[in-house]
Symmetry: C2
Amino acid sequence: MAHPLLNERDTEFLLYEFLDTEALLQRSRYSEHSREIFDATLKTARTIAEKYFANHNAKGDSNEPSFDGEKVHLIEETKQSWDTFAEAGFLAAHCDFDEGGMQLPEIIMRTSLAYISAANIASASYPFLTIGAANLIRSFANDSLKAQFLPQMIDGRFAGTMALTEPDQGSALADIRTSAEPAEDGSYRIRGQKMFISGGDQSLTENIVHLVLAKIKGAPAGVKGISLFLVPKFLLDENGQVSERNDVKLAGLLHKMGYRNTTSTVLSFGEREGAVGYLIGEPHQGLKYMFQMMNEARISVGAGASVLGYQGYIYSLNYAKERPQGRLPSNRDPGSKQIPIIQHADVRRMLLMQKAYSEGGLGLSIYATSLYEDQHTAPTEEQRQNAATLLDLLTPVVKSWPSKYCLKANELAIQVLGGAGYIREFPLEQLYRDNRLNAIHEGTEGIHALDLLARKVPAQNLAAYQMMQAEIRDTIMRARDKESLQSMANALEESLGKLDETGMALFGQLQENVDRGLSNATLYLDVFGCVLVAWIWLRQAIVAEKALENNPGEEDKHFYCGKIHTARFYFEWELPNIQQSITLLKSGNSIPFDMQESWF
Amino acid sequence: MAHPLLNERDTEFLLYEFLDTEALLQRSRYSEHSREIFDATLKTARTIAEKYFANHNAKGDSNEPSFDGEKVHLIEETKQSWDTFAEAGFLAAHCDFDEGGMQLPEIIMRTSLAYISAANIASASYPFLTIGAANLIRSFANDSLKAQFLPQMIDGRFAGTMALTEPDQGSALADIRTSAEPAEDGSYRIRGQKMFISGGDQSLTENIVHLVLAKIKGAPAGVKGISLFLVPKFLLDENGQVSERNDVKLAGLLHKMGYRNTTSTVLSFGEREGAVGYLIGEPHQGLKYMFQMMNEARISVGAGASVLGYQGYIYSLNYAKERPQGRLPSNRDPGSKQIPIIQHADVRRMLLMQKAYSEGGLGLSIYATSLYEDQHTAPTEEQRQNAATLLDLLTPVVKSWPSKYCLKANELAIQVLGGAGYIREFPLEQLYRDNRLNAIHEGTEGIHALDLLARKVPAQNLAAYQMMQAEIRDTIMRARDKESLQSMANALEESLGKLDETGMALFGQLQENVDRGLSNATLYLDVFGCVLVAWIWLRQAIVAEKALENNPGEEDKHFYCGKIHTARFYFEWELPNIQQSITLLKSGNSIPFDMQESWF
């Protein structure tokens, strides 16, 4: 049986019904495009995903990258996937025509990439990181650096990385120790060690462009002293050609539970004469710049988690339709035929949960991408600013909610298959292992919770938060037009009110004692995400209800009924789970905070 | 840093304070034992676990068993672990002195085995299955079979397996197709294929004794036609010595996500002349017999899940105490020293959850073992019968609750370590992979849910269920003596009442429509388990409160405070989560039941 990467009907729904992606064609930047071009791009991505990424997803997992002390070895299909991706122009899909790009909307590019991630999230890392690194260079580097490095990063000769984490500081960037010393030629000499650097070495490209956070000697302490450097693996000669090796050494590969075909590296900078690094932008402003790449990566992590959930959902759904086993409890005749397991209600429950999580997660990710799009290409400055403000608020949630719930989806997919789900002869256990990373990289769940509660929500007198409220209220109003959506509209209104009260209670607690007030932030992040995804589901249900009024064909009818039923499932089965967290948050429950180290 | 397998202080607490294991010394069967012997046994097990099992837990995972078409290869440490376990007498620890055993209480044996599982759950499978298989033969086989096979199974020359599942039926044993044909010599010829048979082939023992479910030709349809056969890998000659190969062939090994050093096999019986099998007990009674082994295995699965959770808890706790990173939110000085991550409240939350799940799970498992003990050795027939009745009710919960929550514990342990938790250079990701099996084997969560709701609770007019209620009420009464335990006592009483109402509501629904009434059974299983573990925690808190009254030493004081604080955590953070499931169950929410296949 074929197991599609995503549900094409759903992709179409999310792009053109849930969102109005065709409206982008009105923007002058996209005036040369058409719906046909969008769809052809998606189709190309899907074909590449199926042919060049899905083909070695399992193989790359069981033959992970190795390092012989000199070179890193990857299975050859990885190189083919990289080359095909680059040749198809996807590294530059969103870039200006002038730069040699396709000038496609971010949302079309990201939905295209969703197919790639669904096929092989590990091999997808190399191009994804390169896109983010190139974007960052384009935004903040001087013209000379751009000219030297960007063309090769968008045609696939050079790859990019983000080198933030160090062995001794992990999440606490304020404490990085990598140093940068000015050299006479205006460049810097970088010294230090970086860890967990994805794609930090590989055998795919002529060169690797590391974007490295480091502190210039004498810089202020903490995050205010961090600068950003471009540190290539190989230096370029005066003609811009790859020449001698820079003083960047692969200290070793790390061996992950999943995501195995992405190299995870420990890199040593400057063990000899110092690695040559080029300052990007102003000194001490590096973290601010890096946030652009981190935030893009965070949305990408949420999308990746969602499509891994989605892959598991599709696979276990197809399996459940075909695998006969047992009978309904009401059937006591052991001689009667066995039924496909989808006819067991508990299997349908596990499939519904997966559908609610993965379609909810993907909807949230695509919505976030539409904000990114608007931030850059909406017609008015106000619209662009609003989209930026809203996206900034939502990024921790867009990253974290799918990472948590779509891992759960993969856990359920395994359970649907039972023993078969647990063995490597079937693809589900790999999805589960791959997806476990997503709550960790690009900021752990706990880090995002602190970011949301301490920074993002209270920022600018709750401006972004109120914008989100207004958006949600608007949806609630629209849902009220339809009798069948009333109860969901009411439930969302109630939940939004509770989220509001909870936030207010927490701000009070924060003022009393910031350590204690932030101690349960992870619960707040979860509640916030569950309410946000309820909104995503209500929006989907509104669209589906309207579509049903127009008497669609049989298949579409089933599709829309599925959306509405899953929305109901989410509202009746999932959303009410926030109540317990709300109770704990509002009362400022301090049991974890009060737990003494000696009591463990 | 040393990472102990379990917390010895807690093991002591569970055996001698939470339960009164010393009281077993009053039973005539154990009159030759003493507390010192119990403790020495535990110490021996711990030493063997550390030296012969923990030594190759990671190695067995990365060098999983292989099959060259002739033989199965296991890393040699597996054989050493098997031999040491057998030589120390643990295969027969619970057996009568007459049989060459140590006649130790089940609870001492199982707690000993908990150390072995914590060290290496995969290598532990071989002896554990052998113990269960030998117990089954002892209970139901005729004297001749017992004489031929039991001595070698308790001295370690033969191993045992349970061969139930087939490729085409999975959980639906009623549909097995393996056949048994009577031969002239009184034995049978077995033909069919079995799948997911743990330990189905290996290179540890001279012989393997498969306990095979099969249908004698002409047997009734369904489970009433299942018989049990002893099918050795090698036949025995007239002197009881291993002789020619039986017609049992290893068709292949399966490759699991975790638990890798346990071979998971596909076995073909009777591809040539038919495998020689010996009927155990009466024809068509096989499933009833097999339930003894399945039920033992289920308790063992719950215990295994708990100790994997426990291992992750201990490891991540020690890591959190030592790993410096970041500062408290109230500390804005980037020049100040970083703090160990245990000082971050969110890390303490994740550790507390792990403590609540793993100590709760282990407490539940050890309690179940005490029921098993009483079932066999309590002084009066009534006590024995009551224990059997109660254990029969609780088995699905004892198996399922730890399998769900201690997997969550391992997920949290990974999160505490962040990136380090995700790489194979640290042991946590393996624990997580290993533990994922436990919600699947020995009956999936969904199967146990149906068993609990449709059979175990309503059995004999709720007799067992009411016995459990009485036990819990007794604890609630005892907790009321202590002011500090009042609120937990009240919460447990309230939850027990809700469980009761929920059950009654469900029985009503079942009578209306059995398929629909059972459709949400998995939620009921979860609620039931959460209430039961609340009871386990309240019992622990009562003991701890009493112990604190006696002014214990400093270390014990911390230990007891930890128990009480964790009980409070469980009651305030975990137990209230059942409310949403109760709401869905009582209202007979039918969203999953109503979901149409075409809507997915």
